[in-house]
Amino acid sequence: MEEIVQHLTPLLDQVTGYIYPNEIELHWGLLVVIYPYLTGLVAGAFILASLVKVFNVKELQPTYRLSLLTALAFIVIAPLPLLAHLGHPEKSFEIFLTPNVNSAMAMFGFVYAWYLMAVLLLELWFDFRQDLVTMANESKGFKRLFYRTISLFSKDLSEKAIAFDHKAVRVITIIGIPSAFLLHGYVGFLFGSIKANPWWSSVLIPIVFLFSAIVSGVALVILLYMVITPLRNKVVDMLCLDKLASYLFYIMIVDFSLEILDFIHRVYESEESISILASLVQNKLFSSLVIMQVLMGMILPLFTIAAVKTFKVPADLRKLLYFISAILVQVGIFSTRWNVVIGGQLFSKSFMGLTTYKMTFFGLEGLLVSIGLLIMPFIILWILIKILDPWRSEDAALSTPTTGQ
């Protein structure tokens, strides 16, 4: 008792109005912000990749494999924040053993597993199979065994087999698009179906989540492409970059319209929660929602890309502007996740008061762990690129046209 009183008293100073006792402290912190952010990047990167295969957008070919590997690198890390937040990660596999169909959260494990195993890994395997086999043939010893193993001891490099690979990739992508929608729509659904919370409970949330996911994924691939290409001593393909930027632009317009629609809908409906939500937005979320999410993360990049599209901007400046816009978009989407997760807990269910989120630095739920979790996908991506060498055939085609392989 004494401890609890001592622990909560300083927090009480931050509280305005009337809130229930169990609302002083937030239960979902930074880690739960990172989780939808990461899954969003996965879904976004994947959908970008599928544009190449399903809709045959040739310009985007240079980023196809990069997007797929990005999706893989991020999806491996995506559940970690949840595991760290819940504690007892060693028990997490139990949700697979005893599936509970009544729990949306428990079923997410299956959505995740489906997407990882049946979509991403499968598509990557078919796409890289030819390369893996050749790489295995070219290397020896442990390396050879390794490539053999991940190619599942496949050997067939006949034209027919490769044609089959291409067909398989196409089919998986077609299944993959709804799966990617499901993956991130599901994350939105988890929030949108919490009917006790008016900030979350909305049928639009899954769709808004989905489009913001695509926005963030495309922006991430732009950033990665622009950083990695010079590191490989190659030249950025402006055609590809312009196309990426256009897609970013159009999807952002859709995303922005949806968010506006959600906003207008809430204001017009004016349910009893509207006044506390208004004060939430005007006080506690002003900088993260109005300034970071909407102005910096949405309007500024939209205007920048629109300007680039209308005026003839030289390539170097264009690159710089794209780069800055993509970074701003990342900041904006991260704020979106923040505003949903943290914002949804800052107001009392009594609709009469607001509390504050106090972030810690150390500890499992702290800033340090979160930064670590955000860096890890990039390390994994680096390792994946090292192992799989995604630009292999492309580079080969450039240096020595038509080798026998």
Partner: protein, 249 residues
């Protein structure tokens, strides 16, 4: 037959092997990992019920104290704290029942316990006794003036604010700051000792407010004037203006 199998692409065969391995491994491992008794009574391990039953009781409950401390339970039952449990102040005492001499209760004699319930908070209900502990006799322990098992103020409170903290604080910053509570509420003296039995009066009609606010009021105040006959006649004034913090704009 052979021909038919060889037509299947190599990739499919390999993947089929992998998928079969995964599924068989899952099917073999699953029964071993699922805890015994799972699903017998629902989506949980039925042994969990026994675990819950086996949990050590920490609290004994008020009824169990009567046996040995009937003086105290009687005293508590007669006073304002009649609804409190003994253990909310003395701590969990299941052990004490078994062996009173070994497991002695704690005594919250400091000033920290009582304000958990009695510190002024605007959300507490009307009439709930509240104090601001920093200014309420701040140097002495609460129990030096209030018997914890039968708390009564040593003196009858002189101010309505002792129990109606929020209303008093609202009124203090309102346009009605200069009007005494008793002007609008005729309060029997006994209300301050037995507030629920002896209730003060409340204004009953529009004319009451009209005393000061109607056009031709003789009250020599700076009260803004309205026409009682035309100003929102279908409602009582306090359905729109909170009397303790009236607002008009």
């Amino acid at each position: 037959m052979n021909n038919w199998i060889s037509k299947i692409p190599e990739q499919i065969k390999l993947l089929a092997v992998v998928v079969t391995v995964i599924i068989t491994a899952f099917l073999i491992v699953r029964p071993m990992l699922i805890p015994a008794g799972f699903g017998e009574q629902g989506h949980f391990r039925s042994g969990a019920l026994n675990d819950a039953v086996a949990v050590q009781f920490k609290y004994a409950g008020k009824a169990s104290c009567v046996e040995c401390h009937d003086d105290m339970t009687d005293m508590l039952a007669g006073g304002y704290h009649k609804k409190l449990s003994c253990e909310v102040c003395h701590g969990p005492l299941a052990g004490h029942i078994d062996d009173p001499d070994e497991n002695t209760p704690s005594f919250p004699r400091e000033r920290t316990l009582c304000p958990v319930c009695h510190e002024y908070l605007s959300s507490r209900p009307t009439g709930f006794p509240q104090i601001v502990s920093q200014s309420h006799n701040s140097l002495k322990a609460c129990i030096s003036c209030h018997e914890p098992h039968d708390p009564v103020p040593p003196d009858v409170p002189s101010q309505c604010s002792a129990c109606h903290g929020e209303i008093s604080r609202s009124k203090a910053v309102s346009h009605h700051v200069d009007i005494e509570c008793e002007f609008c509420h005729t309060t029997p003296e006994l209300h301050k000792t037995s507030p629920r039995q002896y209730r003060p009066s409340k204004p009953q009609n529009r004319e009451f407010c009209g005393q000061c606010h109607t056009k031709n009021s003789k009250h020599n105040t700076k009260a803004p004037r309205i026409d009682l006959a035309t100003h929102e006649t279908r409602y009582d004034c306090w359905q729109c203006h909170y009397p303790h913090l009236p607002e008009a704009r």
